[in-house]
C-alpha cells in the first residue's frame, strides 16, 4: 500500500497502514462505516485474530459475514441475526407441513383416479363405505403426514434440540 492512503481500519485506529496490513484488502478507505461497525461489535483485535486464522482465499467471505452480523446486531441489540434464523426456521417448518399435505393430496387423487368405482368421490363425505375406505387411506398417508414433524431439513443447524441451550 506504499504511498496510497491508509485503509479504513488504520484510519480509524490512527496507525500506520503497513504493506501487509491484514485489514487493507477488505476495508478500503472509501467505506469507513464498514470497519467502524465491525470494530464496534467484534473489536479490531478479534477481527484480526479471526482473519489470521483463515486461509487468504476465505478472508473476503469472512469479512462479508462479519459485517452482516455486526449490522444485524446494531439493528437488533437483543437478537442480532439470530432473530432472522428463528424466523426462517419457522418458515421452513411451515413449508414442510404444506409439502406433506400436498403430497398426501396427490396420493389421494391418484388413488381415486386408479379406482374411481371403489373409492369415494370426496374423502370428507362421511358415509359407511367411505369411513371403511378412508381408514385404510389414512394409514397409507401416515408417512406423509408425519414427514413435517420428523424433518430431515435443517431444523436445528447446530444439532441442538432448541435454539437456546
Amino acid at each position: 500500500m506504499g504511498g496510497s492512503s491508509p485503509c479504513a481500519s488504520c484510519k480509524l485506529l490512527r496507525r500506520r497502514c503497513a504493506k501487509d496490513c491484514i485489514f487493507a484488502p477488505y476495508f478500503p478507505p472509501d467505506d469507513p462505516h464498514k470497519f467502524a461497525i465491525v470494530h464496534k461489535v467484534f473489536g479490531a483485535s478479534n477481527v484480526s485474530k479471526m482473519l489470521q486464522e483463515l486461509p487468504v482465499q476465505q478472508r473476503a467471505d469472512a469479512v462479508g459475514s462479519l459485517v452482516y452480523e455486526a449490522n444485524a446486531r446494531m439493528r437488533d441489540p437483543v437478537y442480532g441475526c439470530v432473530g432472522a434464523i428463528s424466523y426462517l426456521q419457522n418458515q421452513v417448518s411451515q413449508l414442510q407441513m404444506q409439502l406433506a399435505v400436498a403430497q398426501a393430496e396427490i396420493l389421494c387423487i391418484q388413488m381415486q383416479q386408479q379406482e374411481p368405482a371403489a373409492l369415494p368421490t370426496q374423502l370428507d363425505v362421511p358415509d359407511e363405505k367411505s369411513l371403511l375406505l378412508s381408514t385404510s387411506t389414512f394409514n397409507n398417508l401416515q408417512p406423509y403426514l408425519s414427514f413435517a414433524s420428523s424433518s430431515t431439513v435443517m431444523q436445528d443447524p447446530l444439532k441442538r434440540e432448541s435454539l437456546w441451550t
Binding site: 461489535v41 476465505q58 467471505d61 469472512a62 432472522a84 426462517l88 426456521q89 411451515q94 413449508l95 404444506q98
Partner: protein, 155 residues
Amino acid sequence: MMNSTRCAACKYLRRRCSPDCIFSPYFPPNNPQRFLEVHRIYGASNVAKMLEKAPVNQRAEAANSIHYEAHCRIKDPVYGCAGIITLLNQQINDAQCELAKIQAEIAALNGHHADILPPYQQITDASSFANYPVEGDGAFPATHDPSFPQFYLNS
C-alpha cells in the same frame, strides 16, 4: 465465599465478581464454556457493552443470542450465522418450488374440476410454478432482499 460465587466471566478474568456484575446472571460458574466462546469472538468488554445496550428484561435473550452467534462463528469461522441464514433461504426457495410443482400437479390432475378448486390451485401454465404463492403471507425478509449477501452460493 467470594471465590465460590464468582460468575464464569469473573472467574475467567480473575477478578472480583461484584453484586452488580453484568455478566453474572447470564454466565453462571457451572458453564465456563459459554463465556469462553463469547469472549473468544467478541471480547468481554464488547459483550458487556452489548448487554448494557439491551433492555434489562431482555438481557437473558441477548446473552443467549450472543452466545449462539459466537458458537456458530467458532463452528464455521468463515460464515458463522450468516451461512446458516443463506442455507435456510435456499431451503425455503427449494421448498417453495417443490410446493408449487406439486400444486400444479394437483391442479392438472383435477383439471376437469377447476371450478371447485381451492383458491391456490389456479395454475394453468406449469412454467410459472416458480412464482406460485404459498399459504401465509409468504414474506421472508431475507429471501427476496437483493441486498442480502448470498454466502456459500458463490464459493
